[in-house]
Symmetry: C2
Subunit: 334 residues, 2 copies
């Protein structure tokens, strides 16, 4: 069927051991023999059987990239950016296996023999059993996007609380006092942190946090729309809305437009994430940039390094968020 090192050995009149060494560029082998073997291998289009390599070398050549879910709450832009960032680092050195944690009935398949390392893009504490399992099995783990207290994990994330606080402070400095929030998916830690930032900003400026200005969303377009409609029903409408992500901001702007109101003249809208489309909305969206590509690259690099040294350091890396000021936020009128 497919050609093995034994086939090459036969043709080169050497043992398969010599072939193995030659192809792995071992210094033990005579350069001329090595050359001869390598050309034969090339002619036969030899390529190693990775299952066999895996078995003896005890490496799977797989890296797992796990999302809490591939569905609700994981936006397309987010997903795309992460996969892209990780793959850019991993290249063709490893197979990148992309999965949603919620696709697994049990985690028996998650073993050190199947995954040389794992990156978890974690949204909520629901992922902890998964992370714990991987860790217990001795697999090097990097957790992105969420802080997890543990002995042997590197965390890489943006400081969402800081980011949303500075955004809401920006709204306040623009004169807004009636500021609403559309929250993210319930149970996601990013939801919690962004909310906290919002509350902190209000509290710093002595603005009371009104319950009716806090609307639940789930990070999807539709939820932003629905939540905004609710907010617009209020007697004392907010003059500014902080949306916990850009997708919901799109939905919110839709709801506003439907009422014949204008952004930012009648109401200001701010987002979070800096999606690719945000600059191309009308008006362009003022938002908080989260360095997702950097986070994922750094995560992949950290993992590869740890895999090499067989040592994962416990540490937490924060990547700075950044205010992106565009046109969707204006000065408050009154």
């Amino acid at each position: 069927m497919s050609v093995t090192i034994k086939d090459i050995a036969r043709l080169a009149n050497v043992s398969h051991t010599t072939v193995s060494r030659a192809l792995n560029d071992s210094p033990l082998i005579n350069p001329k023999t090595k050359q001869r073997i390598q050309t034969i291998a090339k002619e036969l289009h030899y390529s190693p059987n990775y299952s066999a390599k895996s078995l003896v070398l005890d490496r799977s050549y797989n890296i797992g990239l796990f999302f809490s879910t591939l569905h609700s709450g994981t936006t397309s832009g987010f997903f795309h950016e992460i996969v892209r960032g990780v793959n850019a680092v991993v290249k063709d050195r490893y197979n990148l296996v992309v999965k949603g944690i919620d696709e697994y009935k049990d985690f028996r398949g998650i073993t050190p023999k199947s995954f040389d390392g794992i990156i978890v893009m974690s949204q909520s504490a629901q992922d902890d059993p998964f992370i714990g399992h991987a860790l217990a099995r001795g697999i090097p783990v990097v957790v992105l996007n969420r802080h997890v207290e543990n002995a042997a994990i590197t965390n890489i994330l943006s400081d969402d609380r800081e980011g949303s606080r500075s955004m809401v402070e920006y709204l306040i400095k623009s004169g807004h006092r009636r500021i609403a929030i559309i929250e993210g998916k319930r149970g996601f830690s990013s939801t919690q942190l962004r909310k906290e930032g919002y509350l902190q900003a209000l509290s710093r400026y002595g603005i009371p946090a009104l319950r009716e200005y806090q609307a639940q969303g789930d990070y999807d377009f539709a939820s932003g729309y629905t939540a905004m409609r609710q907010l617009l029903l209020l007697e004392k409408k907010p003059t500014a809305v902080f949306c916990s992500n850009d997708d919901m901001a799109v939905g919110a702007m839709k709801a506003i437009a439907e009422q014949g109101m204008k952004v930012p003249d009648d109401i200001s809208v701010a987002g979070f994430d800096e999606n690719r489309f945000s600059a191309f909305l009308s008006p362009a969206l003022t938002t908080v940039k989260r360095p997702l590509e950097r986070i994922s690259r750094k995560g992949a690099e950290t993992l590869l390094e740890a895999m090499e040294h067989k040592q994962m350091r416990k540490r937490t890396l924060y990547m700075n968020t950044e205010l992106v000021i565009r046109q969707s936020v204006g000065k408050a009128k009154e």
Copy 2:
């Protein structure tokens, strides 16, 4: 280190052969022994070494999902939807390896031993060497999104030409005569097909296809914006613009708004793809729905089936596109 069938065999006082059979639920084994072994295995948290299984069973447990590229021209919504669709079928039966073809320097790593099957989400003829390689190695291949003439390939795609033709016909029926197109990424076959549909529609209604109404894009938001700006510079502005995907339609709408014009009153905009956000734009985008999730699910199912029967049928499946009429297209004025 980790527990193997031999460890279990020792504890159960049987040979590892018996353990192997018991765990694979072979009818040869006495039910009581089987039961005993299975409980021991469970207690020890045994999970098979897939590298070893792979070696002897000659299966990798990997399915490759390859995109032409993970970068320019592959939109986030598209990417997300495909990965989601395929994973929904594959579940935890296989590892889904997600890669961009352009990440490979050479294809030596693409062998039947590394991939039990491959799904190619193909955008252009540039992928043909890759597809040819996989085929030559005897790997079952399903190609989505593009038609490839070959002996042993199943193609699954939407009829983009048909879709764009019916969209442009809809524009014409709405009274438009000066209809522009913003094309997709150069070299992508979808770009070509959608253009053809546009031209066919015009020709059917005897409307001349003007060169200055055909603007180049690359499927990204920014390119839609830039292209639309060009179109708005024309003396005889188009009254309707067909954008080859929804992302570019967003960019185009931005450019229109910047000129103080309104959609659809001053100019109509149509898209293609039916992205998640399209309903939430203002105005909501009239577009062509491409059944991406269905395509990817069907692709995955077809592949799995072919892998089981070790037989890939040559055939081409077309999935219907669907006109989604919303508010971004209006009646022509004059």
